[in-house]
Symmetry: C2
Subunit: 395 residues, 2 copies
């Protein structure tokens, strides 16, 4: 069944948006809901909004909506903070769960902030932990019984290469390691079955395929049987068992709620909550089939028109997430030219052009048109135009 | 000069809002700016908003605006995350600055989340650090040369009792300790001169007296001469010297920018940025004089009408922040009755009724009217009405 629902998005005229893997576009229902929250809730109810408008429960309620898209049972996901913070929470908890081990295993395909957060944690713990970064294809052979935690991003932000969640989690568990998955490029992009996979932790952001808007809150999942044992390093008052008792001592809330830290960002939560409405009735299998059809078609069209581009993503769609990337020496200027011609993808140093495929609002016609425009830009060598060599965009 | 500018706020009819110390009301300019950001920036510019709408620079730019209100030089404050996270950042950095010391000194007037964050940090560091919590009046005598960091909230969230920032900071430094101030109830409430005080760190939130809205981002200040030496425990990619180089290794950005962690919450930042416009032309000395006049008048009016209430705040206005609290056995039900009669303050267990004085939108007439209504409620023993004994509000 088609999952296309372009009419639910506020897409600018004349734009083909292939960057929903970086920042999802604005769902039409968001502006009204945010405006209502600002004037009808904050303005009208003031402090009472925490109760009567349900602001205090939003992190759990919205977490369940996100959880539904990643195979997590209700009550196992909570929203808040940023993905970097959620990585820190998961990793610090994982290290406490394996006190005799000192190694964190990750790969060079992980998003850098995950690695930085691990480095910062290790430096401050000062217990001789080590972050071992291997190539993605070497992860399996490096999962030894010295590893405390395996921390990986499921879908590589540059190439779209996708790890086998089930197999790696199984290997991690066989070696006695804790598994942490970063689902930044997976949630809303590919089917994920957290409950079946058995990973202890998963984290992710909601401003990419979930269209929650710039700076939308992150999520964290804890496997339900473990949630009550996790000792939060970031022990904030809203993760306390009784925040409004104002005890001087910390007692963690039951379950994943202990991963809440400070006051939730209600404007962002409201925008995300509204944005999640576009997922109603979407079957993730249908979404995946549509995503593969779009990316395969794009690869074929580009291959036919742009012989200078080398596919940076796996050829096999089963090994890719919902994006396609190409290496091209003139990638940066070419992407600038593409954007100037209404096709928005993005560029990742040193030479990668990325295109995200989001079947909720991208269809076959968009994909063909984008490839045609890309073909013309390359044929006309527009990447040679100095206008497209301005300073690197922040994307 | 009067700082009253009630016309800039969207206050509900018939409400006297004495809870701006918990959540500031909606400044009128916010709704339009947020709506413009949602549709005119996110909707229209999509990913390009990070550059063309200045989203990426917001945390520093808005930080400077907040810094201006707390005596911080430009470039020494950055916005992001929540206050709990900022406490963790300051404290973890402070402990690294005093590696030979193991004690964190705080007081029982600190907001619980600050203490919880310290507990969580200590538990995970496992280096034998200790959190010593003394009574507020015992802080000075407990600042010894065993103390690594003194971590205090400037204005007590329950009583409004205000610490002497200059004197305590001086004592901390004399003992070789690092000073961390939580300005949650100070920023926009009382004059603060961070540059003169010399404290190493300050943190605070922006949803109270700064009216940034529910979940508005927090701020952190690092004394400029130290910022380049601070080693961030929460080493996120947007605190990296070159976030878009996507290096595998962390290198902190110069200065306080290293305290940025993940993707900033642009909707919340935009709301706060707009809300800060109401401060244009406000002299903090004038604000303080008006705040004292309002709180003194309220105390006098309440004393005349409500003999059953005991002042929980210092009598001397120089020792108070911008709030006044009373002990009252029936405080919870009385506050519910007050709210039902249009006077919004709040309640803090076990028996404290809090009233915040915010001279930008509260005037003498409001204060007298609030005291009159409180007097009637007590005279009529409305706290005895079962209608006001519902479950404790989350405020």
């Amino acid at each position: 069944m088609s999952v296309l629902r372009k009419h639910l998005f506020d897409l600018p005229e004349g734009v083909i948006y292939l960057d929903g893997n970086s920042l999802g576009p604005l769902p039409k229902c968001v502006a009204g809901r945010v405006a209502q929250m600002v004037t009808g809730e904050w303005g009208a109810h003031l402090i009472k909004g925490w109760n009567i408008d349900g602001w205090m429960d939003q992190p759990a309620r919205v977490g369940d909506r996100v959880g539904h898209l990643i195979g997590a049972v209700p009550g196992s996901v909570v929203m808040g903070d940023t993905l970097s913070i959620k990585v820190y929470q998961a990793l610090s908890a994982a290290l406490q769960m394996r006190p005799a081990r000192r190694m964190i295993l990750s790969d060079s395909g992980n998003f850098p902030t995950d690695l930085y957060m691990a480095e910062g944690l290790i430096r401050h713990l000062s217990h001789g932990h080590d972050l071992k970064i291997v190539r993605p294809e070497e992860v399996m052979e490096n999962i030894t019984n010295e590893v405390a935690a395996v921390m990986l991003t499921h879908v590589d932000y540059r190439t779209g290469r996708m790890h086998d969640m089930a197999a790696i989690t199984k290997a991690a568990h066989a070696a006695g390691a804790v598994m942490i998955w970063d689902l930044a490029h997976s949630a809303g992009a590919v089917p994920v079955d957290l409950a079946a996979c058995g990973a202890e932790f998963a984290v992710g952001c909601s401003y990419k395929y979930l269209n929650g808007g710039p700076g939308a809150p992150a999520f964290i999942y804890i496997r339900p049987d473990l949630a009550d044992q996790v000792d939060p390093a970031l022990a904030g008052w809203l993760g306390h068992a009784a925040p409004f008792a104002f005890d001087l001592e910390y007692r963690p809330a039951p379950g994943v709620a202990r991963m809440r830290v400070g006051t939730p960002p209600v404007l962002q939560m409201t925008a995300l909550d509204a944005a999640l409405d576009v997922w109603e009735g979407v079957d993730m299998g249908d979404l995946r089939a549509a995503s593969i059809a779009l990316s395969e078609r794009f690869i074929a069209e580009v291959a036919a028109r742009c012989p200078g581009l080398a596919l940076a993503s796996p050829h096999d769609p089963e090994l890719r997430g919902s994006q396609v990337s190409f290496h091209f020496t003139h990638g940066y200027a070419t992407m600038q030219a593409l954007i100037a011609h209404g096709v928005i993808g993005d560029f990742r140093a040193p030479d990668i052009m990325r295109f995200g495929f989001t079947p909720l609002y991208i269809d076959e016609g968009d994909v063909i048109a984008a490839a045609e425009i890309l073909g013309r830009i390359l044929k006309d060598r527009l990447w040679d135009d100095p206008a497209y060599h301005a300073r690197q965009a922040v994307t």
